[in-house]
């Protein structure tokens, strides 16, 4: 089996603040995962706000260098400074869709210009007709068209339209790996399902692997092959998505599942978290623990008793 992406013992430490109040944040600690080149999959990252999901994604995208560990793409190490050409090649292969479409687009640049520069940069297209065709085909994949987008600035589109445009932009270079950071959090239920189904068909029909970061456990269950759950910079559970979500084992994974709101009690406002459960989920957070493999194929972080 050859690997598409290999993340090995990767950590990221940020230093914050000025000279006087220097403080470090261990955003990601000792994370390992790998995706196969033969079988495309949707690999989901769920976890706490601030647990390092975006940081891990940014390292995979080569936008941030790991403090420790190594990331390789098709056997080639990418987690160090590389030349311009090599970097461009890598970037064509691993395309991002960011968390917030309002942040992803430059507010002063027209959307079509943005797509056009992607097409020029990665596909080396020059002619008007070729550029339009490439943009339109990418936009059609997400249910938009060049006619709807042309001449518009980001603030003239709704959140949903903008997010679909962002996915279209990422699809322009036909990348084998898409890193989608909360791509559906800003769209309505119908569109959410259509974008999630789009990711599914990218995997099944175009053989694109997707790293899907989300807070939505229901869509994670619906489309993922495997997933990891992160808490405070560490992977606390990893395995087959259905196995883990049907029956989460780590206390944080359990808390996560128990906190999902439902519509069944509509109108009666159930917003209380079981304090015992929350307590168990954070009790051992400072300990590193270690990931242990279970017979059903998942790995769970376990701790020596405190």
């Amino acid at each position: 089996m050859s690997t598409l992406l290999d993340v090995r013992n990767v950590s990221k430490r940020f230093t914050m603040g000025g000279l006087l109040s220097r403080k470090t944040v261990d955003a990601v600690q000792d994370a390992s995962l790998s995706l196969s080149a033969e079988t495309p999959e949707i690999f989901t990252i769920i976890g706490e706000s601030g647990s390092g999901k975006t940081t891990l994604a940014r390292m995979i995208l080569g936008l941030e260098l790991p403090t420790d560990g190594e990331i390789s793409f098709r056997g080639k190490t990418v987690s160090h400074r590389v030349g311009r050409q090599e970097r461009l090649e890598f970037m064509a292969n691993v395309q991002p869709v960011f968390q917030n479409p309002f942040e992803a687009f430059n507010p002063l640049k027209r959307i079509d210009r943005y797509l056009e520069s992607t097409a020029k940069r990665f596909l080396k297209l020059r002619h008007r007709d070729d550029l339009d065709a490439a943009m339109d085909s990418a936009l059609q994949k997400v249910g938009l068209s060049i006619a709807e987008v042309r001449g518009r600035f980001p603030h003239e589109m709704s959140g949903g339209q903008l997010q679909r445009a962002a996915i279209a932009r990422a699809l322009i270079p036909n990348p084998p790996l898409l890193v989608a950071d909360e791509p559906v959090s800003m769209v309505d239920a119908s569109l959410r399902m259509s974008i999630v189904n789009l990711l599914k068909s990218l995997r099944d029909d175009l053989r694109v692997s997707v790293i899907y970061i989300t807070h939505d456990l229901a869509t994670a269950y619906y489309i993922s092959n495997r997933l990891i759950i992160m808490q405070r910079g560490r992977i606390v559970e990893m395995g087959d998505a259905r196995t883990v979500l049907d029956n989460p084992e780590h206390p944080y994974s359990r808390l996560l599942k128990a906190s999902v709101l439902s519509t069944e009690d509509a109108g009666s406002g159930k917003l209380i978290t079981d304090p015992g459960m929350a307590e168990r989920a954070t009790a051992l957070i400072r300990q590193p623990g270690r990931l242990v493999a279970r017979p059903d194929g998942r790995s769970v972080r376990v701790y020596e008793r405190a």
Binding site: S49, G50, F102, G159, A189, Y221, V260, L261, A266
Partner: protein, 341 residues
């Protein structure tokens, strides 16, 4: 006994643009009439690009070209006096902002200045309206951050040093630290994990109850509406098509679009494909005639193509704009057998 805090009447707000001599008009808010009561949480849902953000921007007095109010009024009855933000001067709006009326925008980065530390932004927003001295001011802010489960050192951080969820909590903090009478929030918890989301929603409600303030919020997440809102309103193609008490909206909807919306998300353990809505979202530049939902509506009849259904009372406190509201069947039923309050 329920007093109104906000009365919106016949509101129309359009984006009017001119591209190389071609006029383009997007009728994002097209004749909305509604009221928001004192001390209630009102949730707004609806399709992407149906005009939800545009509508609450008007409520928040954050109207900027090319958006223009074409008709109607938006009248608040604040403690410091009534104001119609549709016609108020910038100085009058300035006098109510943050202390009486606050707005959490969609996409939390937009209010956070990237080159200003969070602590500075708090000072810009809250120092003057709070009117507290150095120590008391600091204590108030720190206490507020703690309620939002944010560490005190976020005050020293720049926005890019925080995770998406932390930034979103910061903006909620900014909008609530002055305890305003009316809070408007656009997708306030979408960037949060479900554990923190639940906490933050609980907190918004706690603050709302402490203050007796009113909250209007927009989100696509119907589970949030189910657990937060006292009433829910549904916007389709720039219009309010249904509103009512939360439980009734979920289990006895009287508009086909609402029925679709509350049934469209999968749950954990569910891998069945959900029915997507047929057809394309309507264009707000040239919306369909009659009922704007007719090209996609499973119940549509000939009359729907020509006659605009008025928003009428269909049950106690419940309004719908559908010619066939009596024939709408809920697509989900309550799991438990509870008596409707």
């Amino acid at each position: 006994m329920t007093e109104d805090l906000l009365k919106v009447e016949g509101l129309k707000a359009y984006y009017q643009m001119n591209y190389f001599g071609v006029e383009r008009e997007v009728r994002a808010v097209d004749d909305i009439t509604m009221t928001i009561r004192k001390n209630e949480i009102y949730g707004i849902a609806g399709e992407s690009s149906s005009g939800k953000t545009s509508f609450i921007k008007v409520l928040a007095a954050a109207i900027r070209p090319p958006m223009r109010i074409v008709a109607g009024s938006v009248k608040y009855d604040f403690k410091n006096g009534p104001i119609d933000v549709a016609t108020a001067t910038p100085a009058q709006i300035e006098a109510v902002r943050w202390r009486h009326l606050s707005y959490i925008m969609q996409g939390s980065m937009s209010v956070l200045n990237p080159v200003r530390r969070i602590g500075r932004t708090f000072e810009d927003f809250a120092r003057r309206p709070l009117g507290l001295s150095g120590e008391a001011y600091r204590a108030r802010v720190l206490n507020h951050l703690e309620r939002l489960k944010l560490p005190a050192d976020v005050l020293n951080a720049y926005p890019h040093e925080l995770s998406g969820g932390m930034r979103q909590r910061v903006t909620i903090g900014l909008a609530t630290v002055c305890h305003p009478e009316f809070v408007i929030a656009d997708e306030p918890t979408t960037a949060l994990d479900v554990v923190v989301q639940k906490e933050v929603l609980g907190l918004i409600r706690e603050i709302q109850q402490d203050m007796g303030s009113s909250v209007v919020f927009v989100t696509h997440d119907m589970t949030v509406h189910a657990n937060m809102a006292d009433r829910v309103g549904i916007i389709y193609a720039g219009r309010l098509v249904e509103e009512g008490p939360t439980r009734q909206m979920f289990f006895a909807p009287k508009h086909p679009y609402t029925a679709h919306l509350v049934a469209s998300l999968p749950r954990i353990g569910d891998t069945a494909q959900r029915p997507a809505l047929e057809g394309r979202p309507p264009s707000l530049a040239s919306p369909p005639s009659g009922c704007r939902f007719h090209p996609r509506c499973p119940l549509a009849i000939d009359k729907c193509k020509t006659d605009v259904p008025p928003l009428i009372q269909v049950a106690n406190d419940h309004r719908s704009a559908c010619w066939r509201w009596q024939d709408v069947e809920p697509l989900v039923v309550p799991q438990r057998h509870e008596v409707m309050a």
